[in-house]
Symmetry: C2
DNA sequence: CGGCATCCACGAGGATACTG
DNA sequence: CAGTATCCTCGTGGATGCCG
């Protein structure tokens, strides 16, 4: 997820998969969702985001913020005060996305243990053939 | 286990984001969804998948397949016939995931033009300050 | 047919430092 | 405070070749 997406390898995966892929590409990048979630609570400042999204670097925060803004998922408001103050806020579109993301969360939570068990079983069967 | 992991880089982003991130990580990798969609139609063979998921390499197909199988999203059935025959089939859990993925598709389609316009506007305003 | 192993290219993203 | 710029690492995934 860079400002200049040179590697747009996403082509026609499957007729039905295209739109999904599109969303996934937009939401991917490991930080987008975190930022979206943090901003979903209400207007939030740059530094606040930096602290809210654990582990993100200044660079990636800026980059991801720009992308989200570009896609119309976040609005950027600059207050020309002496200590600069910038606030980010999710748009209605992003809020809708957030809602559907919640479905995914739900799915993840419901099957978390099942998946985990599946992994353990798989690993046991494939890493310890003895 | 000298293989490289396709896209399982789960981390702690934000308390609320964790589960989402977990799903996203599992579904990311650019091929998982395509494979899931192709397999959702019913049992499908390796070569069929290779053709169904446009642009995927043999390597990535195998890798992603393994990950999906490991997570219990796909079942792998080997028929010990003379020309080897392996069939992959989505599990109920994966089918549920597929359903929620459809919500995302819906979101993407509903806001596709909006987002596209937002991008154009953003680019116009930021790349051509004149 | 259905893989796995190897080599390699590229770009996402971390660390660090500087600025308005 | 809110970025921007630069360097560098390393994971992701493409290409190719061999094997059961």
């Amino acid at each position: 997820m860079s400002q200049r997406n040179t590697g747009v390898t996403s082509q026609a995966v499957t007729a039905e998969a295209c739109p999904v892929q599109e969303v996934l590409d937009r939401v991917s990048g490991k930080w987008s969702v975190g930022i979206l979630v943090a901003a979903a609570q209400g207007p939030i400042r740059f530094t606040e985001l930096e602290r809210a999204v654990t582990g993100i670097s200044r660079r990636m925060l800026t980059l991801t913020l720009r992308n989200l803004e570009r896609d119309g998922l976040l609005t950027r408001t600059v207050y020309p005060t002496v200590p600069p103050r910038v606030e980010y806020e999710v748009t209605p579109v992003a809020r809708e996305l957030y809602e559907t993301l919640l479905r995914l969360t739900d799915w993840a939570e419901r099957h978390r243990t099942t998946i985990h068990r599946s992994r353990v079983a798989y690993d046991a069967e494939h890493a310890a053939p003895a």
